[in-house]
């Protein structure tokens, strides 16, 4: 799914409006943005991911992610022949500096970007004792860091390992789907810098969003479907060995 001129024409005016708010120093959610009109998700195209780690770096820059913790990360899989249930996986520094070349033995190798799945039935929001983490009406799971106690129950409850405790604020933290960007018509930092278009932000409530056509014509999966979390990150071309 390449970014074509058509996409640029659609995005340009929205970006211009949003940019005006940023420049004016009043970057509150732009008044054009209505919560009920969006249901955010992401599409990850595994055959396109080259494991460059730009997304991991960009996320850290955009969101001040502390060293050693990751709001998004890349995993490299090596599946030896028929051993689908026993892949070898690595993620050096979350893939932020890319991956060293490896000697490939018989089998297949590929990259899998991971992030918060912004689950519609999220187990993490279910267990929060005070309501500090929640799903917004437009489908993004966020953490209210002025309300979070830092009890770490949500970190335990997430099946995907996407949460951590920020050592500076002592509160829970995770991917926010760059909410401060998408609510202004921009795309997420990770999607912005992905050189191959392997990561694409998608709005399921927008009938013109290319994701609808894509989901109809490709075999996609979500991570850990048996957990029934209502995950909204869809993976195209994902191998069965992916954990």
């Amino acid at each position: 799914m390449d970014v074509t001129r058509r996409h640029l024409l659609l995005l340009l005016p929205a970006a211009a409006v949003a940019w005006k708010y940023v420049l004016a120093g009043t970057p509150e959610a732009s008044p054009n943005y209505k919560l009920s009109e969006h249901w955010w998700s992401m599409l990850i195209d595994i055959p396109k991911c080259i494991g460059c780690g730009r997304c991991v770096r960009a996320c850290a820059d955009e969101n001040d992610v502390p060293d050693g913790y990751y709001r998004t990360w890349i995993e490299r899989y090596h599946v030896a022949d028929w051993k689908v249930e026993r892949p070898e996986v690595e993620s050096p520094h979350g893939g932020m500096q890319g991956f060293p070349p490896n000697e490939s033995t018989a089998g297949k190798d590929f990259f899998v970007p991971k992030l918060c799945n912004h689950c519609a039935d999220s187990p993490c929001t279910q267990v929060c004792p005070v309501g500090a983490t929640f799903i917004t009406p437009d489908g993004v799971v966020l953490v209210d860091k002025t309300y979070c106690l830092g009890c770490r129950y949500c970190v335990q409850a997430c099946p995907y390992g996407c949460r951590f405790i920020n050592p500076k604020t002592n509160t829970a933290e995770k991917c926010t789907l760059c909410y401060h960007r998408i609510s202004k018509g921009l795309t997420t930092a990770c999607c912005e810098v992905c050189p191959t278009g392997a990561r694409q932000l998608a709005d399921l409530k927008n009938p013109k969003d290319p994701i609808h056509e894509f989901l109809r014509t490709h075999a996609v999966q979500v991570l850990k479907p048996h957990m029934a979390t209502g995950s909204k990150v869809f993976y195209n071309g994902m191998d069965g060995s992916v954990r």
């Binding site: 913790y69 990751y70 990360w73 995993e75 249930e85 892949p87 070898e88 996986v89 690595e90 993620s91 520094h93 979350g94 991971k114 187990p123 279910q126 267990v127 929060c128 004792p129 005070v130 309501g131 500090a132 309300y147 979070c148 106690l149 830092g150 009890c151 770490r152 129950y153 970190v155 335990q156 409850a157 997430c158 099946p159 995907y160 390992g161 996407c162 949460r163 951590f164 405790i165 604020t169 002592n170 509160t171 957990m227 954990r243």
Partner: protein, 399 residues
């Protein structure tokens, strides 16, 4: 602090979230629930033999209950916000229910029962003492000095009712801790419907063992005679409860081994390597099988009172260690393996840090300090009287 990782872990999983303080919390609330159940044996089930431990069990429960929130507060990233759990509790969260269950148990069950049971002594002490201590007792009387026969009988009936309500409350207090773990579908080591039940029974075992040990130690310190009949009875309850607890844990283990689902290989490896000492050696062999065998021995063989006391002391101590190990294996064990089932991490416990070993040791000593204060203010001994030296064992179940 570089944490050694074996295999693959999701990057954010390498550091453990819940450490030794979170191991301590279920251990402490377990002692509370267990001690209370022992006290209720006398009050509700009229088991005469354990009467000497009745008040001691209640005070023990209180001392531990007062310390219970401390490991949690020290663990929180923002303890100053913990009151939010009372202001905006999230009803879908088992942890949110903590505040209310704890408060209910503390105020409506334990403190009320202790107050009603001790009220006569409190009123008498408020009249007999001087200074700050007098003020303390006077506040406790709530301004009423009525200790007529009728009022004491009313207290007695109300106390019975509260103990009755207290038994399911004690189960709830500790059962929900089991549910906090058991309801986490993301973690196969924890996720199990058996978890609350296993927690409750192991709580009862630890609570009974601690009260038994405290009774033996305090009686010895006071230079009095230990009532062997009381000890035998307590040991009997410990024995039966332990058998149930052990059966439940073995059932869980056997089912896991048999079904061997996708998590089994990684959990099995973890138990055989990283949890071998704490689970197989300490928890199962030393902490469960040995005490059961020891107490079983006293029931089969005809042993002298002295021999039985020694065996009970050993069995009780091993039990307490074993139940602590069980909490450790659940909490720490559940975080040593990756949710990808492809790797393992290590728990690096600090020493003099906020969540370190030293803190844990202090928190374990603190309840005994509080108990010592409580025992001075509200003597639980059956042969103690607030004013005279004569025996005035409070009359329960006599009518």
């Amino acid at each position: 602090m570089q944490i050694p990782v074996e295999g693959f872990m999701y990057p954010n999983e390498v550091e453990l979230q819940w450490g030794v303080l979170i191991v301590l919390y279920p251990f402490i609330t377990g002692l509370v629930a267990g001690a209370f159940i022992l006290a209720s044996l006398e009050r509700v089930f009229r088991v005469e033999a354990v009467k000497p431990t009745y008040r001691l069990a209640l005070l023990t429960a209180l001392a531990f209950l007062l310390v219970a929130p401390l490991p949690l507060q020290l663990h929180l990233g923002h303890p100053e916000r913990s009151f939010e759990m009372y202001l905006t509790p999230h009803r879908s969260s088992a942890m949110a229910m903590f505040g209310f269950i704890y408060l209910w148990y503390l105020m409506a069950v334990l403190l009320l029962e202790i107050w009603l049971d001790y009220r006569r002594d409190i009123v008498l002490k408020s009249q007999a003492s001087i200074g700050m201590v007098r003020l303390f007792y006077r506040v406790l009387t709530l301004g009423s000095s009525n200790i007529s026969e009728r009022s004491l009988r009313i207290d007695e009936r109300l106390g019975y009712f509260i103990t009755l309500v207290g038994i399911p409350s004690a189960f709830l207090l500790h059962g929900y801790v089991g549910f906090i773990f058991g309801s986490v579908k993301a973690n196969p080591w924890w996720s199990s419907p058996l978890m609350p039940i296993v927690f409750i029974f192991s709580a009862m075992v630890s609570g009974i063992a601690v009260v038994m040990l405290l009774y033996m130690v305090s009686t010895w310190l006071r230079g009095r005679e230990i009532e062997i009949r009381c000890l035998d009875k307590i040991a009997q309850y410990l024995f039966y409860t332990f058998i149930i607890d052990f059966s439940l844990e073995m059932l869980d283990l056997l089912q896991r081994i048999y079904e061997a689902d996708e998590s089994f290989r990684t959990l099995d490896f973890m138990v055989h390597t990283r949890l071998w000492k704490s689970q197989v050696i300490v928890q199962i062999l030393l902490g469960t099988v040995t005490p059961i065998a020891l107490i079983g021995l006293t029931r089969i063989l005809k042993l002298t009172g002295t021999a039985r006391k020694r065996i009970y002391a050993l069995a009780g101590s091993l039990t307490v260690i074993g139940i602590f190990a069980m909490r450790w294996n659940v909490v720490i064990g559940g975080q040593l393996f990756s949710k990808s089932f492809l790797g393992y991490t290590t728990y690096k416990m600090g020493f003099a840090t906020r969540e370190g070993l030293l803190t844990a040791i202090v928190l374990m000593i603190l309840p005994f300090v509080i108990l010592w204060v409580l025992v001075k203010l509200l003597p639980p001994w059956p042969d103690a009287d607030p004013l005279t030296a004569s025996d005035t064992t409070p009359a329960h179940g006599t009518s």
